[in-house]
Symmetry: C2
Subunit: 333 residues, 2 copies
Amino acid sequence: MGNGRAVTLRDVAARAGVSVQTVSNALNAPQRLQADTLATVTAAIRELGYQPNRSARSLRTSSARLIGYCVARRADGVANPMMDQFLHALTAAAEDEGRHVLLFTAPAGAEAMTPYADLIAQRAVDAFVLSDTVPHDPRHRWLTEHGARFASFGRVWHEQEQPGPWVDVDGAAGCAEAVRHLHSLGHKRIAFLGLPPDGGAVQDRQHGWQAACGQLGLPTEGLLVHCADDTVRHGRDAALRLLDGAEPPTALVAASDVVAFGALHCGRPLAVVGFDDTPLAALVPPGLSSVRQPVAEVARTLINLLDDDHERGVLLRPELVVRASSRTTVRES
Amino acid sequence: MGNGRAVTLRDVAARAGVSVQTVSNALNAPQRLQADTLATVTAAIRELGYQPNRSARSLRTSSARLIGYCVARRADGVANPMMDQFLHALTAAAEDEGRHVLLFTAPAGAEAMTPYADLIAQRAVDAFVLSDTVPHDPRHRWLTEHGARFASFGRVWHEQEQPGPWVDVDGAAGCAEAVRHLHSLGHKRIAFLGLPPDGGAVQDRQHGWQAACGQLGLPTEGLLVHCADDTVRHGRDAALRLLDGAEPPTALVAASDVVAFGALHCGRPLAVVGFDDTPLAALVPPGLSSVRQPVAEVARTLINLLDDDHERGVLLRPELVVRASSRTTVRES
């Protein structure tokens, strides 16, 4: 593994001083080329050690140079708004190392590891990238026990140890920054709009809110509410419950953009910061401030971790993107 | 190509009466198994002709069983809301035929075909699936000329011919159905909220609106407006221009959910139907009626087209999903 970037058609074309198309023709339709051009390209191929056939190279090096990635199936109507960005970033980062991404699906439940076992047995991939991790995710331990190389976007929470290398975004730091931002605008009662505690990422975000409020001497009592589900309606209802309380908040940090969006459209003045900076945040007026995950850096780190036998975990810092939703006037209470 | 489903670990496990894990162990860690279990699994592997090594099989059959798919890079903040669904559906449909999807990226401009040429030259894939087609898309002709197998989600509009097999969703039929739906609720002035004419899919949707209005004897004069860009703000502004006209519409069909969303939140009563049934449509209250593309059927058709030398084009019918946005009361004019 990790023996540098594979020589590409582009490299051969540059060396031979011809177009990529000409190199492609030399390999696939040599009859189309003049004899001297063909000789030049063939010499460049030899000099650079270019291997036109991935399958042949794969057998020799025991490495398909393919990274397996499981496309998660979402519940109907629920999209992963970062999927688009993440897959592009992962594919581009893999290509920089002469690799490609192979997609597969996995069933839920007891058979969830079957496709992983199949791909390993077929030697179709030489590593996996995991995302959509859940607490007690069985994949990390299984892959470790089977000696498969992988890197995980997201941690396995509540495990005694975290099997295998991982990269994650510091949700606690992101929410703490959101609290400090709102405090700097004069807010003194800043609520947290959570989701059902999953013992993982959501909990981590809540801890960040709690810690930052503590450091700034702000109250948290009566300012924590959990939405029953990650929907706009649940977000709005939860925000209204907070605002109907004895000492309502003037601002709110949410565990997701979706519930943040509900809070923002609850019909009452409330400064709101979401989490994930989904397309929704920029798209829907007046614009939702949100904590952005550094997707491209996550992808690059994942690919690097596949070739690194030392690094175990990388925690990246998210970035607060400020829009109109957190710039409401503070009412003096 | 197309010589049936590959034998999987699962098949071997079923034949041997053992778990998939045991088959995987037999291939990768035989020392872990009892001698009789190993013998049973080995016999099943032989009987079924299971090929554990994709690379070896690939060399023999000249087919990597991989389908190349280019992940498009979006402008910042613009996500393809169907990407998630489409990639899962495509991967699942490919797996049903014993194939996998290989992702790659492509630069814009003159070098756009380079990764396609590289993958062909390396024999890394044996076919391509295209999406995000644009008018005069150069890929279809290039792949045809290079003898590469592919299937396209979306047509190349304004070409004299459509090179290669394709599947598309009948946007004209979808918008016509939206018009008939609004008409059945009593609307008599139904506008179309378009996007800059691209000579392709957007134009097709507009034609559907125009044709249906014609058939129902409804006016179209002064009821067509184009948004300068596919944003919520542009949608709202365009809807307000229509509503401030001499004879304003009571209902509107939009070329996208995003501009439909702007029209829905323009502050005036207006029945609205969007296009694409993105997650936004179901997520944001009160719920946006929208024309849904049959993504799973698109994916299955694409995979089938790769093995079909006769079928050239398949036009699928979209489905109107009715939500609260098109159920406003009609004001008598």
